[in-house]
Assembly symmetry: D2
Homo-oligomer: 338 residues x 4
């Protein structure tokens, strides 16, 4: 932490701040500048609210110099984390695609789609059983029945499975049915849920909240990892900006940024990131070109009948063509579609 | 819902869309414009994903004409909802202030602050027992012990109490201790929690999420109300923007906008909205001047020792002076500080 | 400037960065932390692109410790700047209101409105002659004819005048007609225009750009002041956020923040900040309650006939009532409506 | 335009709005819904401020159904506009890269870089002569001397040239030296400048403003085109969001969205879009994968000595490698690097 004093800070103010820093256990180094005195506070004190120093008398600004995350950061863990589930691998040079319907609607629907995405090359089957809906009047998911279908479809087609967990009481329940637990964007800072997911052994994929900084996404991962579960996958799915043509603004640059800051795999979700079927392909290609370790894509054979998110679901044929393009783009940047 | 067709939409495309609308139960009115055909779809179908029509062939744009909320809206409930708890009243011409520490830290701390805020005119005592912290390494609250202290302090000083609920399992537990349940900004779209709070009878205060539109805030209220609990209070606490001098941007205009759209009381939280003690006063005054039904303000007698949010907590003396100013501003706009 | 080195930065990397800092004229102080080395670079080098150091080998982060503005900042100019034009005064304990139509449309229109706003207590008459319109097909203003009318109306009713300048060629032209030059939000970073306005002696009011930080607003003021014109007024008029119910989000907190950082007067424009007539009153009251030195408000006697911005213009009667409320709020916070 | 009336709008209110619409020249179609009456207003009235109807008595909402741009839109001009300058072509299946230094600093510097980027395959040489700098104390460009060097370098290496125009007085001056006029993000809504550029015959490239919607970018193009100059190129260069790790958030999805709405070519500027050299490559690849018609990339052989934007400039070797990757990605999506 670096504390910049005001130009007109008196000697006694400077001493008061120094002493307070020392009380918190910091070692203090003082630098007298032309106009301003700077105090360098040395010591690893994660969890301290630095704003507490901002309003002390004579203080101009407080600058943090250590990231608040440790387990999720690359500093102490330079090599990539590789998460492996059945045929899927995330974090290596291979790029893995998760695909499937937004919501699990019926056995017929899920098995039909599972077969199509498997044929096209997906390695993980997605499907929502508990649905976070903005409106209490919308379809809320099939619940446990949906999870059972997901497990069966995964076994039938040799696909790993992923589904969203919305509350603590669902964690144990889902353990029997899914291979990867998904934390939705709206729950990214549901700290109670994150803490609970730190206790399980299955991989957890955390979607970036719509207003979350990349640092906050890494802090969400830190919550899970601090509980002992290191199998964390990150997912960029669009942030909220003033531009409303697309449902969200998929922040493609979060991919290379996260790779620099963290050793965890990061994938992109162009379906939720755009909300529009005809934008999914271009953004999926962009994410792979920018270095994403994988993708999550919604596919539906009858999107106009889908109970949720039909507007952003690809037809199986579109998905098949997209996978071909992704294969070539992966190759162009020295990687390989799994 | 209004469907605007493309300029070059063919007659068969227009018919196809019309028929699909009718299949969903809408009554369709067709208007042939100079360049474009418009289809007016009449019928009250909340919960339908209108984007499903956006990608149909020949469709240019789909415009929603009904708000997705019903119980929270003013249309069918023109008069204000007034929430009354002990001496506190929210939604009338009276303005009620909630105050207290960010976290409950000890009996001594809480009782000291409770006495001060009571003297200054607050009617509701706030205090966090379960704390949502960005870092897993930060102080997480006293838990049930904190709730017990809160209840005792409320009784001792004749104050109603409010505290944040973070997960479903805490709902029953808290019923014995708090008068108002607070849903934090990060849980505004924790739909499982909202649904659970629809089953209780005590008032629920929902804070606007950092990336939530006003409409989404009203939809969160709708979740609670759809469960049968109509005692909902809304709280503006700052949204995330590109401006980072303040921790968030307190959206004062949300106050008059919400009053127009909804019958529910709305208060402002200038402490979290700014994150800086010296900005709390100006923004508290602004919120009352703009028509807020109440305020939530963090007060601490030793903010530099506070375990959380000390930087944005007012000293009791500052709070006392602020209440005097608020009293005059309330009077200037024809209202009264409770 | 403070340079934080990576944990694994080698001694030679640290030395290389130190030497480069010295080459730029900085005096370097080195602090060896537990994990990281920090380099404090002392010296006043405004205009250096600090990002140049961010990509040097071994550098983790570069932190600026001096504001990039000097003339606009409060550090070297602690007392308020007071701008006085005729009866108007901005920056003292008095609060001055500017009012008038969005566009000057005719003598009849302007004189009618000028009389009304004068009666209600406005001290400055606003009126656009050159209009920045998003669409090339919209009304673009009366030009010089409008300026002549503005001058006449100002003289007739004893009001100072303000109008927007859109390009360098208009500066000399307008000198004869207006008392205050307004720079619109879309031109806040039109540096050529700002530089030109630094050469004149009349006050310049700069509106904050829709995506401009408060620091960038102060840098725009710095451009004008660096040219020798110290009569600068700042104006908060709303920033762009994801919330679209209002046209912009009026950032009321910018008022106390600017007062802390700068000695220049700051006013608010609730008309453009909200875009909706029924929100102008609440936000005008909020701005004054938060400490604004003045307001700019659009008034029109026949807003439904206005050639621009009728939807956000107050009727004269509404303006009159608002001025009464503002008078009381000013008094509540120890100030006075001019 | 569609006008949605309030549930409780009286017959006389509905008639009043209908009559007002007819007065403006609209043909009105009335649809009586279950709760609400809808008025469809038929007629092409670009330039009308629809908010004027929003505050009429009984009106709930006004929905626009026609885009405000005409010349820039794809509706009346379905085929792509192709802009050709020397060897460069923008808008066809070929992808053209513009490259060069941020600022022109000297003959030696510019010629060195021009040779390198030509070798790597760039077809257009960029270089700033008039620099828009946030600080008045920063390097402001070489001016006309810079333009002369740019022209010479273009001729020497067979490259078309592009440079930024900052004010009207520079337009005629620059006509002799540059092939493409660049309008910077901060001038995207400098309508006076745009109007002036509508009078010339050389292509104009408009950068999206940091807070500009895609629609506003198209309206800026409309300004130039309304003057008779149809050679307009659009450029996505990053928007401002709450995420501050990158300088801006490059909105890759703007590329497919613009292609749908407009026939104009769109390129991306990953240098300004990220502000960080190590993010330029991934984002350049992403832009091409998403369908960009070209790129603008800053290259400098000694970025650590650059007078501006060194931190985001690629070394010539990095640029060369990137061009190889882009060539393969272009091929993967059925296009070709020019």
């Amino acid at each position: 932490m670096v504390i910049v004093m005001e130009d007109n800070a008196t000697e006694s103010m400077i001493i008061a701040v120094s002493e307070r820093l020392e009380k918190f256990g910091f070692q203090v180094h003082r630098v007298n500048g032309v106009n301003r005195t700077i105090l360098g506070a040395i010591g690893d004190k994660r969890g301290i609210d630095i704003r507490g120093f901002e309003l002390a008398e004579g203080v101009h600004e407080v600058l943090r110099i250590t990231e608040p995350y440790k387990l999720a950061g690359r500093t102490f863990h330079p090599e990539n984390t590789v998460v492996t589930v059945k045929d899927a691998v995330l974090g290596s040079e291979k790029i893995t695609v998760m695909a499937g319907p937004c919501s699990i609607e019926s056995e017929q629907q899920l098995f039909h789609i599972a077969r199509e995405v498997r044929t096209a090359g997906a390695k993980i089957l997605r499907g929502g059983a508990f649905k976070p809906r903005t409106s209490p009047y919308s379809f809320q998911g099939l619940g446990v029945e949906g999870l059972k279908l997901l497990k069966q479809a995964g076994e039938e087609f040799g696909l790993a499975t992923i589904s969203e967990v919305m509350e603590i009481s669902q964690v144990n329940l889902m353990l029997d049915y899914v291979d990867i637990f998904q934390v939705g964007a709206r729950n990214m800072q549901n700290f109670s849920l994150l803490r609970e997911l730190g206790k399980i052994k299955k991989p957890v994929m955390i979607k970036r909240g719509m207003a979350a900084t990349i640092e906050e996404l890494l802090m969400a991962a830190e919550y899970v990892m601090a509980g002992g579960n290191y199998n964390v996958i990150l997912c960029e799915r669009g942030i909220r900006t003033f531009e409303n043509y697309t449902r969200n603004t998929l922040d493609i640059s979060a991919i290379p940024v996260t790779h620099k800051l963290s050793h965890l795999p990061i994938i992109a979700d162009p379906s939720h990131g755009t909300g529009l079927r005809d934008k999914v392909g271009p953004m999926a290609r962009a994410a792979v070109a920018a270095g994403a370790d994988g993708l999550m894509i919604e596919v539906h054979h009858e999107p106009e009948q889908a109970l949720s998110d039909g507007a952003q679901s690809l037809y199986p044929q579109q998905f098949l063509r997209l996978m071909e393009e992704l294969r070539m783009i992966a190759w162009a940047i020295g990687r390989e579609l799994n």
